[in-house]
Subunit: 161 residues, 2 copies
DNA sequence: GCCAGAGATGCGACCTGGATGCAACAGGCA
DNA sequence: TGCCTGTTGCATCCAGGTCGCATCTCTGGC
């Protein structure tokens, strides 16, 4: 399964290759007995082209700009399917809805409980915690799936005054 | 606000003192212009006597064992009020409902995404992450509020086979 | 090119967890 | 004791997400 998800893990920065990645995921889908549909192609284009961390609803709005009939539940189902294939992952950033992004963008999240600001943190920020959890509890952490809540520099300063 | 929450922070292990703590919180409530009601007293007794990490619904069931008319929304409102006073905190353990426990029980949570098992971890497990987040981003983490998702030893072993 | 059948879709209903508006009730100070 | 205001029960609503089902459409085989 892992080897298949790597098929679309291309070096970033090559603009011409981006739409190819959409096609590669569609090929992956087909190889798993899935079908290539308009809504799936559009959803993948949104995921590859736009910013990361969009909610299902936001993605639906973007897809509906091209195909107004695509239903929100279709977006959910397709995101679910893409997650099963290892193409996208979802993350929970605080109390709100889940957000989705490509699985190739691996990073953790720091979310401010006061102002809602979200910082992307490289996975190695969590290395020490990962080692400690593994050593003390045999627990393998997944730093992408959870947001670490707390307070950003600006809000700490305000609260301190 | 912090000094007030410390008023019920008693050394653990003193069985006789437990119900007194309920009274102390009620006094705290009263000193903030709140009132002492049956539902509040029962809710606090549940919180002080039972295990940690119960959802609002579970607490409601326990309270309703003594007072069947106490409504779930009353439980939510009282938990909210107690949280404002710093007596209880809530934590999100994975995808389910929030869980509540006394603010004096400070620890982080490791939750297995496969089997749902929850491990309580002492706050110092997060020290290295706290230092790194503060150093790199000026971000103060709150390791009690979020669960760290991942996979427990047993599930990792099963997946590895 | 056509067809059959399985996978995908649109739609509405439903579910969980939680918030809110409001009238009635009740704690607690004068 | 009575009044004022905080609290409660109830109904209703909301967000985020899931599900069942009839209909549609993609795709491999002919």
């Amino acid at each position: 399964m892992v080897t298949q998800t790597e098929r679309h893990a291309q070096p970033a920065g090559d603009h011409e290759k981006r739409s190819d990645s959409v096609e590669e995921v569609l090929t992956l889908l087909r190889s798993h007995g899935g079908r290539v549909t308009t809504s799936r192609r559009l959803l993948l284009q949104c995921l590859f082209e736009g910013r990361a961390h969009r909610t299902a609803e936001e993605l639906a709005v973007e897809v509906q700009a091209s195909a107004p009939d695509v239903h929100l539940s279709t977006i959910y189902r397709n995101l679910d399917e893409l997650e099963r294939l290892g193409v996208v992952v979802h993350a929970h950033l605080g109390h709100g809805p889940a957000t989705y992004h490509l699985a190739t963008e691996t990073h953790g999240h720091l979310v401010c409980e006061s102002c809602g600001a979200m910082l992307e943190a490289p996975e190695n920020l969590f290395d020490a915690l990962a080692r400690a959890a593994a050593h003390d509890y045999g627990f393998t952490i997944d730093p992408r799936h959870f947001a670490v809540l707390g307070h950003c520099a600006a809000c700490v300063q305000v609260a301190g005054n």
